[in-house]
């Protein structure tokens, strides 16, 4: 198992780097750079040039990427030793290093919020997005699995039809509709819940666990419902379909024939196996939750990473865009790996080797 995890991690590294490079390259191809404008005014050329030098935008692209990954000092060191490599003449002229490189855990310095490191920005905003995402997935599981099980056990009854219909409805109403509607009802009309912001500012316990106060939850309820509805709908549909298939298996008949209680048959024998497909979609679901957080964080003005990401795209904050993309990449790869491991644990027939 350990060797499997290590190998998966090793394979993921080039994939993440490739993605980082694609993002790195694409965003630099977009016309209008980070230092072309301040608001609506064009920056004076001299200042612009200085800023571009400061962030090494005058370097050849491959060198910029190299120093983003391994650090400026390494790039400088290489050039001091082997100055004949193309681009080194420019690099040697910039003695000051900005980034210590991804491999040393430095995500770089923001180009728009000058002087702030991406690590600080991400450190403050990522836990917020993570809380939103995790709570939504938990809500999705809490509603989706029981609803799916209930629908499957009462197949073709009104419970089943109602649950299935509500599930399709939940799948079809996007969070960008649910969010504003919730705001109108519970924040504007009833005034029960706040319409925006996040209840608890960082830092958090262990970097992620928020204080479990009413102030936190009253800010969380609407965003989590808006994001979790769609998740619970797809989980419910999948649980139902999968449980229906499992219930018809021979080993369920065997379990019943042994005289086990129906509850035991369902919970201990059927449910565990029927959850395997549910676990598998949790991986891709993380990707959906990520896009979901973009929208939800905009609607509810939550200071999470998604909001920073969208803002940084309009701002052309190159480092922030690349680093946040890398984090999303790592998150997704990690989620998929976790899913595969859980998969093997739920179904011993699947060997991880």
């Amino acid at each position: 198992m350990l060797s499997y995890i290590i190998r998966r991690t090793l394979v993921s590294i080039p994939v993440i780097l490739l993605m980082a490079f694609v993002v790195f390259y694409l965003i630099r191809q977009v016309p209008a750079g980070p230092f072309d404008f301040v608001g609506d005014r064009a920056l004076p050329p001299a200042i612009r040039e200085n800023l571009e030098k400061r962030y090494h935008l005058d370097w050849p692209l491959m060198w910029q990427f190299t120093s983003y990954v391994v650090g400026d000092d390494v790039a400088l060191g290489v050039c001091n030793v082997a100055g004949f490599i193309p681009g080194c003449d420019i690099i040697k002229e910039t003695p000051e290093g900005v980034s210590r490189g991804l491999i040393r855990g430095d995500l770089g310095e923001s180009m728009k919020q000058r002087g702030r490191s991406i690590n600080t920005i991400v450190g403050n905003s990522f836990p917020v997005s993570l809380q939103l995402g995790i709570l939504s997935i938990i809500l999705g599981l809490l509603i989706g699995i029981p609803a799916g099980v209930l629908a499957a056990l009462r197949q073709n009854s009104w419970v089943d039809y109602l649950a299935s219909f509500v599930a399709v409805l939940g799948l079809s109403i996007p969070s960008m509709v649910i969010g504003p509607v919730l705001i109108v009802v519970f924040a504007v009309k009833l005034g029960w819940l706040p319409a925006a912001q996040w209840g608890a500012p960082p830092p958090y316990t262990l970097g992620i666990i928020p204080p479990l106060t009413w102030d936190f939850f009253k800010h969380t309820i609407m965003p989590v419902i808006a994001l979790g509805t769609g998740l619970s709908a797809s989980i419910a549909r999948l649980t139902r379909a999968s449980l229906l298939q499992v219930i018809r298996e021979d080993y369920i008949r065997t379990a019943r024939a042994k005289g086990l209680k129906e509850r035991v048959v369902i919970v201990r024998h059927a449910l565990k196996n029927s959850l395997i497909p549910v676990v598998t979609i949790l991986g891709p679901m993380v990707a959906g939750v990520v896009t979901g957080t973009f929208v939800i964080e905009l609607i509810f003005a939550i200071p999470g990473m998604g909001k920073y990401f969208i803002d940084s795209i309009t701002n052309r904050d190159y480092t922030l865009i690349t680093s946040v993309s890398v984090i999303y990449g790592v998150l997704l790869v990690a989620a998929n790996m976790l899913v595969d491991i859980t998969y093997g644990w739920l179904d011993p027939r699947i060997r991880l080797d």
């Binding site: 994939v15 399709v168 504003p180 896009t291 973009f294 990449g329």
Partner: protein, 342 residues
């Protein structure tokens, strides 16, 4: 029974009165009321999208055209809507036309814009899914039929891309395309493409981005289907009489795997519509003033406190459309997947 029928058609000794597999599938689809209602709704929407200009009296697609209906909200006392400038929940133009769903923050009729928005969503639904179906089918067919190392390599590429947050790449592609679209001084082929994209309100690049996002799943399905068919007798027979690989792929294998692939693609359509809405919502979809439900939702959430009426049109339209495609996809899956039938 239906399973037996399928086997029969595969053996090409169908009884005289038997319908083809497609007609048969369609007949079975008609027995699903939700799918039928959905199909009718989608047809209705398609009609609205095509006839958007003819059906509504205001030509409110563009910003400048909105000037014509300004008297409508000018007549409203601003005291009623003190917080919102152009947005009114009801109103009449000087010509006596009624704003059924009110007007937005620029005084544009929301019903008209919702009707125009159907164009974008349906175009995305059909064209982006066709793009993804085409790329995925060809890729999966070739990969599955070639087998061996080629197959391995091609599938590794898919796996690799599958693990990435593709939506991020799509967002960046859209940023790139949008910035490119703003350049007006390009000539030649690229200039022509840019012009076409501009006249489509940025839709062309959206198709490319969405197609690039979604062909991976289709490629996997097409490959799996190809693998299950390529060892069957009819392929061997074709190989024996010396058919070229291209002929085997496209005249023998393709018709067999098309059904499940179309079903999978239909199930993916809600995703396309929602992704377009998402991209437009964050300002990276179609270009304003082109009406898109995503853009309208974005405009309405910003004004949600003062003008909550603005959300009704796009929200209902988007949800109903996605709902219809979901029901249709479910219906098609039930028809083509005999295991789903009880």
């Amino acid at each position: 029974m239906a399973v037996a029928q399928q086997t029969v058609t595969h053996d090409h000794v169908a009884p005289k009165n038997a319908k083809g597999p497609w007609a048969d599938a369609f007949t079975r689809l008609l027995k699903n009321p939700a799918a039928v209602v959905s199909m009718l709704f989608i047809l209705f929407l398609l009609l609205i999208a095509i006839l958007a200009e003819q059906l509504n009296p205001y030509v409110l697609q563009g910003f400048s055209d909105a000037v014509e209906v300004q008297p409508a909200y000018a007549k409203q006392t601003l005291a009623d809507n003190s917080k919102s400038f152009g947005a009114v929940s009801t109103g009449t133009t000087t010509e006596g036309f009624v704003y059924w769903l009110g007007a937005d923050h620029l005084g544009r009729d929301i019903l008209s814009r919702t009707m125009y928005g159907a164009r974008v969503s349906l175009a995305v639904a059909f064209i982006a899914s066709a793009v993804s179906l085409f790329i995925g089918l060809v890729y999966g067919l070739v990969s599955g039929y070639a087998g061996g190392r080629v197959d391995d390599l091609m599938m590794r590429v898919v796996d690799l891309l599958y693990g990435l947050p593709i939506i991020i790449i799509v967002i960046l592609l859209q940023v790139y395309f949008k910035a490119l679209g703003r350049q007006t001084d390009v000539s030649g082929f690229v200039g022509a493409v840019l012009n076409l994209n501009r006249s489509l309100g940025g839709l062309l690049f959206l198709f490319v981005a969405l197609g690039a996002l979604n062909w991976l799943g289709m490629a996997r399905i097409a490959r799996g289907q190809t693998l299950s068919y390529k060892r069957q007798e009819f392929v061997e027979a074709a190989e024996a009489v010396g058919a070229t690989p291209r002929r085997i792929l496209f005249t023998h294998l393709l018709p067999n795997i098309l059904g499940p692939c179309i079903v999978a693609e239909t199930l993916a359509i809600p995703g396309y519509i929602l992704t377009e809405a998402f991209l437009s919502f964050i300002g990276l979809g179609v270009d304003p003033p082109t009406a898109s439900w995503g853009i309208m939702l974005n405009e309405s959430y910003k004004a949600i406190r003062s003008s909550p009426h603005m959300i009704v049109g796009p929200a209902v339209a988007l949800s109903l459309t996605v709902l219809a495609f979901n029901f249709l996809g479910d219906g098609l899956r039930d028809v083509f997947d005999p295991r789903m039938r009880e």
